[in-house]
Symmetry: C2
């Protein structure tokens, strides 16, 4: 097949005119929350078997290490505390909880412009993680991540169309006090983006000061509770099948304070989860079902996300691996379970094992991103900027993910089939007495912008044009864009009075 | 979520022992021809609508420009030649042909070791195309492609596990005589790889000398006809809805000579095909159905591949674009139509618009590769090494595609669900009185190599290990591997007597 461009004469002026017209928001080819679900890695029977295996595991094995408060909540709801200290969940309890759980959660933005509706198979992509390094692309090196890096990441997320939320992707290594780190994470992220933010808390007692900060930012407790723009990403289990005692206490306090909770089960296949993909999904499902019972025992209907995040492992070395095909299957299989339960769900996709934003990073990030979206995961976490098997975060890669995730989202949007798109009449007109091509047809012109996602950084020039343009380098373009974004003021910065009040009350590490 | 490696003490020695044992071929985690089909971009009703729209188009619009021989074949089979010169296809003719067409085609290898069974939704990936440039990675430049480049590409394909066939990916620009180019393409490819080869012929009269060469390579006409290891990639249509007169004549001669035929319809969305994804699939389906009738009129049951290859177009510029999400949907939608017809099918996936093997190339190549495989395309063409919207071929990228396509194939393999993989008993043993992790379990060790695809070039080291290893560069690794492969003798080289006979009879441009 020869790759010649078709004639450029037909309709060029018309195309240029159409391109000049601004595109109404409703006509954008992709939007946050498009509906996935056309990829089913599991058969219906497989889904049922995983569901029943998870119920078996909860009934027979249960979970150890609940905090005293959790034991009270759970046994109060009907769970059974065994002599071995494990809490077991009768099927009826789990099924009752599933029947009554919240099926639709809104992850609010601070300004109301980018609220995320987590329900059905609406797909959103965003950052997440706890990287300890920043990728220094220019220096081909890794360094420790700082609070400034986190703020910069939030500023970048704020301007990217296809990165829909900003869960904290890295740890502020320059803040040694964990309580200060927790509330500084909120300060750095909230002052960088209006989009929904997710974060963690190291200890239960660190929730209160952070919540105080959130209420100040919101303009009052009532305002925050009405539209909580920060959620708690909570590793409430230590797989396999143990509650993370302190994190459970954190979770209780977050629920009380009005934060939605991501119930995050992050087992590693072959290490802290079974080595099979099916088994890792079973265990994650069981753990998240336990979490769902827990949350609903604390507060019926409390907003939470079913966070099955099983990770892959390179069994040859024992090292984590998140860029693999096995990871894409783990994540997509979880997405299908979320749909089965009709619960707001999240999983990890779109991260790379590569150290740099190279070709490996591209293929790894796309593989799990697009399969996660097609399987209908509501919240695809770790989907932007994540490298080195989650150990490193990269601002250039984050920027490029806007192209990558836009493409994945175009796949999620799928193929529209109706009389107009089937185009038999158009084919007839073009072929019989018509021009013999489609370049200038009304149908082509009208769809130029509404049907196609055009890359911002991805290069589509011919080799000749590419050489004439000085052979633009993908990474150099991303670095230039990064400098533009970081050189401009944050759209989310606090008003001066609030900023002063926060700095007076808290030990803020981010430089003004 | 923190990315700490699990303890490496548990089972390291056992893992090392297991790794040392050679893996039987039957235990390889992925193999050519694994079954796809778990991704359905179209609903069942959408598939029916596309089918009926294609039948409508064939009945109402038909195809122009059939050669006189084709008019005879087609009208003899029941098609109707109109006063406007277009041949129209009554529904009953198409449906009868569909009922009787060959549902299973073998694409033979020369040595019988890598035969491809094209049936059901068995997935194979390989090269294809007509690039006119080679990507010079070290020089960051493009140059004209040569017969040596083609031979080198075949040698590389020969040793890559996950590149299953070698359709000619580039044009030998250093051979100005088109007849010589056609048979030299066969010589250069066949002397480089034993895998199945696909090629094209510029004019009908060029088929005979090439076939003479093929019969010599096979050791006789009867031997070639028994196991045709070269197929004809045939652009039998000039979309929209016109036969390519000369290519149809080429096709007739190839069928007579015993070559399987790829019926290749390569419309460009918005230029030579409708601008909608659905419409482009309708037109490609209609054209390939016309081709199917044609082939079966020439020789009932002749082996052919239903080659719906609609390509994307950047409507802003009129340039071809093959790396997009729209392209992945076009290809996957075609794959679903192949499954609906239960015909051996091929489509294009895995090519990039990027000029170099960079992050863009990675995400673009993975997107359409993995969706093509999951949709069950039997032959995913253009899936390795293809850049610059099909204008450039890259040996380094071809080598890296072995990792990329291995990962895509792992996704095609999917998730096995049975009592053992669900692992509830294993979870119980590990959690209740067991070690609390899965690192050393029999299940984990036994699956270390059979369940996981490990990358050859992809890097999974930690940032620390990566720095200690001197920060290995992906492209440099691929270049080193290329030099190894090209420095070794071809496993497919002809025996000296055959080579001498071929060189005596034909004007061979490849240096001995």
């Amino acid at each position: 097949m020869n790759a010649q461009n078709p004639s450029r004469s037909g309709g060029r002026a018309a195309r240029r005119a159409a391109r000049a017209a601004p595109l109404a928001d409703s006509l954008r080819p992709i939007r946050p929350g498009m509906e996935g679900g056309r990829y089913n890695p599991l058969s219906d029977a497989d889904v049922q078997r995983i569901h029943h295996a998870a119920l078996d595991a909860l009934e027979r094995i249960g979970l150890a290490d609940a905090p005293p408060s959790g034991i009270d909540y759970l046994t109060g709801a009907g769970a059974i505390l065994g002599d071995d200290g494990r809490i077991r969940f009768p099927r009826a309890l789990v099924e009752d909880t599933l029947a009554r759980a919240n099926r639709s959660v809104t992850y609010f933005s601070r300004d109301g412009k980018t609220d995320l509706e987590l329900s059905g198979s609406n797909v959103h992509y965003g950052t997440a993680g706890a990287a300890v390094h920043m990728v220094d692309v220019a220096g081909n090196a890794y360094r420790e991540s700082t609070v400034q890096d986190l703020h910069d990441a939030a500023k970048i997320v704020d301007v990217l169309d296809n990165v829909h939320f900003c869960q904290r992707p890295m740890v502020c290594r320059d803040i040694t006090d964990n309580m200060e780190m927790d509330y500084n994470t909120i300060f750095a992220a909230c002052s960088g983006t209006m989009k929904h933010i997710g974060t963690s808390f190291t200890e239960p007692d660190f929730v209160a000061p952070a919540v105080e900060m959130l209420y100040m930012i919101a303009g009052g407790e009532d305002k925050f509770r009405e539209r909580p723009f920060v959620s708690n990403s909570n590793c409430f289990v230590v797989p396999p099948m143990k509650f993370a005692t302190e994190s459970c206490e954190v979770m209780e306090r977050c629920i009380e304070a009005g934060l939605p909770v991501l119930l995050l089960s992050a087992g590693m296949q072959g290490a802290t989860a079974p080595s099979t993909i099916a088994g890792a999904i079973v265990q994650a499902t069981a753990e998240c079902l336990a979490g769902l019972v827990y949350v609903n025992a604390v507060k019926p209907g409390a907003p939470c996300v079913f966070g099955t995040w099983p990770f892959g492992l390179d069994l040859r070395t024992g090292a984590m691996s998140i860029g693999s095909g096995e990871q894409a299957l783990l994540t997509a299989g979880c997405g299908q379970m979320h749909r089965f339960y009709d619960l707001p769900g999240g999983a990890a996709g779109g991260a790379s094992d590569s150290k740099m934003p190279d070709m490996q990073a591209g293929w790894e990030q796309m593989c799990s991103s697009v399969l996660a979206g097609l399987s209908g995961v509501n919240m695809v976490y770790e989907a932007a900027g994540m490298h080195a098997s989650l150990l490193g975060f990269c601002h250039e890669s984050l920027i490029l993910s806007d192209d990558l995730l836009g493409q994945a989202m175009r796949c999620v949007r799928g193929i529209e089939v109706n009389d107009e798109t089937l185009a038999v009449d158009e084919i007839a007109q073009v072929c019989m007495g018509g021009p013999g091509h489609y370049l200038g047809t009304d149908q082509t012109l009208s769809r130029m912008q509404t049907e196609s996602v055009y890359p911002t950084f991805g290069d589509r020039t011919s080799p000749k044009e590419w050489a004439e343009k000085g052979k633009p380098d993908l990474i150099a373009k991303a670095t230039a864009r990064k400098e533009d974004i970081l050189g401009a003021p944050s759209q989310a910065q606090f008003d001066p009075a609030l900023e002063a009040a926060l700095r007076a009350k808290f030990n803020i590490h981010l430089k003004p």
